[in-house]
């Protein structure tokens, strides 16, 4: 189902992931979060921005451990765990946060 972002229509796949990662803009995350009835805070954006930076370098979403380690370094050890991330993204940081960040969904036995 396509989504409307700032007057533009962007294609998504069946599961709501952006069809073309190059079409991403911050408004994409806002629109998707609104559909999930989630308010995006600075804490959410920290994660989304990190995911995008990592993807740019490695062409894949970071492993949960890489993500929690990076969050722990940046925001303090108490936040460097998957509980904190699930608190922010209840559908799972790997999947929900990746979707907001425009990244393809991690596939496989995860």
């Amino acid at each position: 189902m396509p989504i409307e972002v700032n007057g533009k229509t962007l294609e998504t796949d069946e599961e709501g992931y952006l069809a073309n990662i190059n079409e991403w803009e911050p408004g994409v995350a806002d629109v998707m979060a609104k559909e999930d009835e989630l308010d995006l805070t600075d804490e959410h954006w920290d994660i989304i921005n990190f995911l995008r930076e990592y993807y740019e370098e490695y062409q894949i979403a970071p492993a949960v451990r890489v993500l929690t380690k990076a969050v722990g370094k940046k925001l303090g050890k108490d936040k460097g765990n998957s509980k904190y991330l699930y608190g922010l993204f209840p559908y799972g940081p790997g999947k929900q946060a990746c979707r907001y960040a425009g990244l393809p969904k991690p596939t496989g036995c995860v």
Binding site: E14, E15, Y58, Q59, I60, A63, V64, R65, V66, K69, S82, Y86, P90, Y91, G92, G94, K95, P104, P106, T107, G108, C109, V110
Partner: protein, 511 residues
Amino acid sequence: MAKASFEIPKLDEYPEVPPVVPGTMAHSKPYVAKPDFQAPLEFPGELPDDWHDKAIDAMGDLLGKYRSLRVYLDSCVKCGACTDKCHYYLGTQDPKNMPVGRQDLLRKVYRRHFTFAGKYFPKLVGAEDLTKEVLDDWYSYFHQCSQCRRCSVFCPYGIDTAEISMAAREIMDRIGVGQKYCNEIIGKVYKIGNNLGLPEKALADTLEGLEEDVEEDTGVAVKFPLDVKGADILVVTPSADFFAEPHVDGLIGYGKVFHEAGVSWTLSSKASEAANFGMFIGSYENMRRVSLRIREAALELGVKRIIFGECGHAWRVAYSFLNTLAGPFDFLDPKYPVPQHILEFTWGEIQKGTLNIDKSANDDMVVTFHDSCNVARASRMGSEPGGQFKIPRNVIKAVCNHFVDMAPETIHEKTFCCGGGGGLLTDDLMELRVKGAKPRMEALKNVIEDYGVTNMAAICAICKSQFTKVLPYYGMDMDMIVSVHQLVSNAIVLTGQTSEDDEEESTEDAA
């Protein structure tokens, strides 16, 4: 956990066979693969006009190739022994999730086209034409079978519903009706080397990160080598071990065991995946193509042995089929089994006494063990019958003081599937996954209440991810699920290890 849009089953104290409610899961079907996901597997992208004839031809082809399929389709006498054995039936009450109900979806078309009575007196023998409605039913219900083979343990004729499901999925793939989850993933294995689509650079970075973490924790430089030519052992493990939790804690455990054993080992960026979803879709050609990567990697790296990490169906493919799919492995060292399971290796080292174990490191846990279907019912470990049950438990008991088994009718060869195996570990089947986990959740809840179990260990990437997802639906903590080698990792005291615990202990000693 996300809010459920379906009713979560209530856990019963004793397993009860629920009454039949037809059609409860008729709406459940995974996303269909787009043409782009079909092409790398050499399947057509869309349903052709002559799909009916093509499907019947495909069925005939499979019947000719696999004698077992014809025997399974011919021999059912409707005794009913299987009806209450499938976790998906127990969780959904849908009679088409009874193994016989599922088999009959294919059997009725088989009878119509491949038996004398079905050709001439279809109504008398329950034979039916393959209509679009029947095809839709196939797509729905053959993606509600995790190919766990529990039903076959109870069938007096040994009919293997998994093989029937695999055949049905292969027939559907050949007429362009593939499942997105499996087929997209197999495409990624061909293109990038693993299910995740983890490129070499990211893999190298992840492994480097693990080396840093372990050194930080222990003060010992445990290596996680990648593409090291001339290493003795090639380790092939599910890519989830590089990515997800608690999988990665298991991978750390393998690394520590190899380090202490003093062997040289390597991972491979080419064979950076143990899983072989070719089996789930019943495609011999794709299963073979996925397997050949392992052979190629072993030859290129010049290793002497191959060891598989914690992955259930990979071990079935490795143990039961690898030699015919990708053999002969005459270039490997004949002193060792081809291939070997990481648990066989670790158990060997424990018996030799090369590992310094401090069991008290796991004293905060009371552990139970979930037998993974493909390990339990389709393979073995070690040289004795039942080794696949004993060796994982032996290893757990060697590193944990507190171990309790779940009810006997839910473990060993009667183990219940986690609910996410066989290519069903996808979000679009979440309702099925949650409901199918019910029997395992009941058995787990009982040992939690009766024995204070705190954690369940598993040796399969799918089981670990599935439980992480479904435990919260049943009010349990996602962190309950642990890797067996995570327990090993906790308990190993590395040579020269310094840890916070040691420092605390020495302070206590001084006091």
